[in-house]
Symmetry: C2
Subunit: 246 residues, 2 copies
DNA sequence: AAATGTGATCTAGATCACATTT
DNA sequence: AAATGTGATCTAGATCACATTT
């Protein structure tokens, strides 16, 4: 893993999410003040990774926590038989590096070229102990992640493939909007197999679901990684569908 | 919701979990010191509820967070078509009352008679702002919950019914052990339908999975809510199985 | 009476095999 | 060459209907 000095044109670590207590119409906001970001930047080194590189793997000693500057990360678990389950896709301003008893509970890999802040755990803990405001903002972010993970579980409980995929696209769209990016087109930074592993379905079923949505005129793909919602109301209906029968 | 004075034989609010950073062989520990528990107790009222009572429902103003003294809580979401998804089962020393923009993100109901600490959110926030140690312990608990929720998602991604149910039983067993209860027999405080809604399968499939495990001599039920693992190695194999083919 | 179990039927999606696209 | 798409086949579990247990 290559490391570099902190570049001058960044503003420091950032964590965003929807506020747990204040109404904000679903808008995500930056939890850290400029000052907090500066104080955190001192602790961090910047790491750059190529697409496909592994950041850490499950069971390794968890000596650092990461914050994404740019790029997309896949967090996943590998079963003994080699099958993978994608725990989360992580984007700009997300934190990752979840551990239990000092060991990472999953693996993490770069889906795109990546720039990360890397925080050694002891330094971060010392900083948190001195800074109640920062701790509070970490709590806000964790509450946000907890809700996201519950949404993931909710999605996985869906029985219909079309519904899972539509809900997944909604999720990506919301995240894009939350990051302030244009939302006319949904961008998929991951491949079909990653999507399948996130949704608990085979990649063939993912492919057929995309076809199904396209055939029915509900989505329109520019290429395999860029698509639009063409029929919003039907799309939303399918995403909300919890049934199994036709 | 009936409220009562704080009784004298309790030691105050408690939150437990596996430490994120210190090796502890999977053992859960109490994150709060006696002093912290006492400081928190001042903020809380005690609420007692009967089995089946609703604690709060999705979308309501989230003005309180709860901590379980005794009993079991079901957190769930209801879809427009009336189908339910169980987000989590919550036990002694768990916190609940997750909110987004000041509104509860799910509903919560008593599965057994319940005693709860109830914390008004503003008082809790003021307390947290003054107490970095307490904040840190809340972070530890949230990290624990985040891992639990990821496990739930992992379980939901399983394709085989037997595997889901076996993994669920493992989970209950671990929680029981973590609470320091005897673990020779697994106790199910919830009904088959709740289990189905947690595992993303029909209650009939749950019933058949129990029968399947019983027929094959892997579990032994005393009654519908008490069972033993009779063949541990086969049980663990089934719980770890990620395949779909026979 | 409500919860749970069980049988019969049906279908969505897994799996396998190969074609097509990037 | 790897990722993706598509067709054919098969089966696990959903659904419906009713029996049994608590």
């Amino acid at each position: 893993m290559a490391r570099a000095k902190i570049s001058t044109n960044t503003h420091g670590p950032a964590i965003r999410g929807v506020d747990p207590w204040t109404p904000s119409a679903g808008k995500m906001r930056q939890f850290l003040s400029e000052e907090e970001r500066a104080r955190l930047a001192v602790l961090a080194s910047i790491v750059r990774l190529n697409k496909g590189e592994e950041i850490y793997s499950e069971g390794q000693r968890a000596d650092a926590v990461f914050n994404i500057i740019t790029g997309v990360v896949k967090a996943y678990k590998t079963a003994p038989d080699g099958s993978e389950h994608v725990t989360a896709f992580l984007f700009k301003d997300d934190m990752f590096g979840l551990s239990e008893e000092g060991k990472y509970t999953n693996s993490a890999k770069a889906l795109t070229p990546l720039a990360l802040y890397r925080f050694p755990v002891p330094a971060l803990r010392r900083r948190l102990a001195k800074d109640a405001d920062l701790e509070f903002h970490v709590i806000c972010k964790l509450l946000h992640e907890l809700r996201e993970t519950q949404r993931h579980a909710f999605l996985l409980a869906r029985r219909r493939a079309l519904s899972k995929v539509a809900m997944f696209l909604q999720l990506l769209e919301n995240l894009q909007a939350g990051r302030g990016e244009r939302t006319a087109e949904i961008y998929l930074p991951m491949n079909r197999s990653d999507i399948g592993e996130y949704l608990g379905m085979s990649l063939e079923a993912v492919s057929r679901a995309f076809r199904g949505l396209t055939t029915r005129g509900i989505i329109k793909s520019r290429d395999r990684r860029h698509l639009k919602i063409a029929d919003r109301s039907t799309f939303d209906e399918i995403a909300a569908d919890t049934t199994n029968a036709p």
